[in-house]
């Protein structure tokens, strides 16, 4: 897909979000509430136990805010493919001479772009004013790289889960599994540092910590530069592995796909 088509798809998806903004204020409030809850919980825990897991009361607040802001910014319509398969409108996507993968990525980028601008950034600003956020600016270029990789990992997990609907109509159980794993293992809620040392090596064998832990830990300066580079290398490896798996799944799925209706 050439860049101009990609941008077209992304901007249409962005516009669509703008059209459906009725639940916008609710979702901003909701996001902000989450930030408030998590920072409050960490405050209570750290007030009792002092520093732990390499965090101080101040740095864990920054981490919690950033992890939540990244989560909100990485909003994706993860049921889009399954819905299109269920109602058969995937047919319309497939009659077009474009890569299904790139089209979904472009639409996802447009969707997220709206959530970054309309929710992520405002929530970041308000949280910074209310709770105090300390971001070392010199980490930003490396963090940007890590954020990009994190985005691709999350997108591909969603894409792969969506493709399962080519085999089974009801992918809700897989979605639940995915939510569970991401909530637990991605560092979006609890930083990986708080997991027992014995299981941390195994977590490193999953793509999950590359989703929120890596970018949040890097952007908040929680990890050293050397560690940051290792984490980004792991993320890049996962992007490659998942891209390969999505390719396999897509090729197998095309033979399985049953276009409903008509």
């Amino acid at each position: 897909m050439n860049p101009s088509t990609f941008i077209k798809f992304a901007s249409v998806s962005f516009q669509k979000q703008v059209t459906y903004r009725f639940d916008y204020f609710v979702s901003v409030l909701n996001g902000f509430l989450y930030v408030f809850i998590f920072t409050s919980v960490w405050k209570v825990i750290f007030a009792k136990s002092g520093a732990s897991g390499g965090f101080t009361a101040e740095s864990i607040t920054t981490y919690a805010v950033m992890a939540m802001v990244i989560r909100i910014s990485f909003s994706m319509e993860d049921t889009a493919i399954a819905n299109k398969v269920r109602d058969g409108s995937v047919a319309i996507d497939l009659i077009r001479p474009v890569s299904f993968y790139m089209m979904n990525l472009a639409e996802c980028v447009g969707y997220s772009a709206f959530h970054i601008l309309a929710r992520g950034i405002p929530i970041l600003i308000v949280s910074a004013l209310l709770f105090g956020v300390h971001l070392p600016l010199e980490k930003l270029p490396v963090a940007a790289l890590s954020l990009t990789m994190a985005y691709l990992i999350l997108f591909m997990l969603n894409f792969a889960t969506g493709l399962l609907s080519f085999w089974v109509i009801e992918i809700f159980p897989f979605m639940l599994l995915k939510y569970g794993l991401i909530n637990l293992l991605s560092g979006g809620i609890v930083p990986i540092d708080f997991f027992p040392a014995s299981i941390r090596p195994y977590l490193a064998l999953t793509p999950f910590q590359g989703i929120f832990y890596a970018p949040a830990a890097i952007i908040t300066g929680h990890v050293s530069n050397e560690r940051a580079l290792v984490m980004i290398a792991e993320q890049v490896a996962w992007v490659a592995i998942l891209a390969w798996m999505c390719g396999l799944l897509w090729r197998a799925g095309q033979n399985k796909l049953v276009i409903q209706g008509g």
Binding site: N2, S4, T5, K8, F9, V12, Q15, K16, T19, Y20, G88, S89, A91, I92, L94, I95, R96, P97, V98, S99, V168, I169, E170, F172, P173, Q254, N255, L257, V258, I259, G261, G262
Partner: protein, 349 residues
């Protein structure tokens, strides 16, 4: 190089569309209701095979306008999905412009236009104009070609007043006009229309027919049209393919349907006085009579119908006479029903 095969195939095919023993089976799992049912279905092996398309073969030359008809569930949409590359057949082979659509979906997509009457390809949330802009990017249409084509489509489908309306506010007929235009902006060589006139009023249908005829004539677009409206077929399609339970049961000129399946002609006769029975004209049979009027069936014999009429006129005093031919609709209906012709006739002229 996704389009390499297309480039190689270009100009290297006699037929626009070829289907060779196409077959598509769907396996339907007999699942229970709700989530537990869905989970069970994952592991159960209780599957039933539905033969949507049993065996379909045909070849369509460039520039042909072919009607593809059959009862509900005959397998028309399934065939169209295979030919547009979005469904892989269980067995058999298809080629569109020399390439296998389901193996080269994207290359095939460059050359074909598709309208699925029941769903729109317009971007639901955007003004109509934006869809065409999207398509210009997707099909990489040069700006001047695009402007020419849009001008043509806009004029003949009267899109002007619709361009700035959001798609979701269009009426069905308006939406269909926009959809048909969307399937043609990239000047496809082959156009697939799956029930493009569904739910439209007589005038809207007529406008779309006129437009399609024009496209077929001026652009040489090969068109395959699925419809349940036999007026579409009679007015547009020189060739007709009839599908029944996944098999082709007729493939030939629409005109020839009559000589192939209709051996009888119907005459409506009004006499000056009441006539009880006819004598002396053995090839004519009385179907019904009321008052001075009589409905007669002419069975093709050695002599023509004109001969029968002249003998009728010499024996009886006739006030008015008209000969009716069965409509394509009634012929096809009787083919579906596998009955002899039903007395459902349409005036000819």
């Amino acid at each position: 190089m996704p389009y390499l095969e297309y480039i190689l195939a270009m100009g290297n095919f006699e037929y626009s569309i070829e289907a060779h023993n196409l077959r598509k089976d769907f396996s339907v799992s007999e699942s229970g209701k709700g989530m537990m049912g869905a989970v069970k279905a994952l592991f159960s092996s209780k599957k039933r095979a539905v033969h949507a398309v049993e065996s379909v073969s045909f070849s369509i030359k460039p520039g042909e306008f072919v009607g593809y008809v059959g009862e509900n569930g005959a397998g028309k949409s399934t065939t169209i999905k295979i030919l547009t590359g979005i469904l892989v057949p269980t067995s058999g082979e298809a080629k569109v412009n020399g390439i296998i659509p389901y193996e080269n979906r994207r290359a095939n997509g460059m050359n074909i236009g598709v309208v699925f009457g029941q769903r729109t390809q317009l971007w639901w949330d955007l003004p109509v104009r934006e869809t065409y802009e999207m398509l210009r990017h997707i099909y990489r249409i040069p700006q001047d070609t695009y402007a020419d084509m849009m001008k043509k489509l806009s004029a003949s489908l009267d899109l002007g007043p619709l361009m700035d309306m959001p798609v979701r506010k269009l009426s069905l007929g308006q939406r269909m006009r926009c959809d048909i235009a969307a399937s043609l902006v990239h000047r496809p060589q082959v156009l697939f229309l799956d029930e493009p006139t569904i739910g439209l009023d007589v005038l809207a249908k007529e406008n779309i027919r006129t437009f399609l005829k024009e496209m077929n004539r001026t652009e040489g677009t090969t068109i395959i049209l699925t419809t349940h409206d036999m007026n579409d077929i009679e007015q547009l399609c020189k060739r007709l393919i009839i599908l029944d339970k996944g098999r082709v049961i007729y493939d030939g000129a629409t005109e020839d349907l009559k000589s192939r399946f209709v051996h009888d002609k119907i005459m409506e006769v009004e006499f000056h006085e009441r006539v009880e029975t006819l004598v002396g004209i053995p090839e004519v049979v009385v179907v019904s009579s009321s008052g001075n009027k009589m409905r007669l069936k002419f069975q093709n014999g050695n002599s023509g119908i004109a001969d029968a009429i002249s003998r009728l006129a010499s024996l009886y005093s006739i006030k008015d006479i008209s000969v009716r031919e069965p409509s394509v609709e009634s012929i096809i209906y009787s083919i579906y029903e596998k009955t002899t012709l039903l007395p459902k006739y349409k005036d000819k002229g």
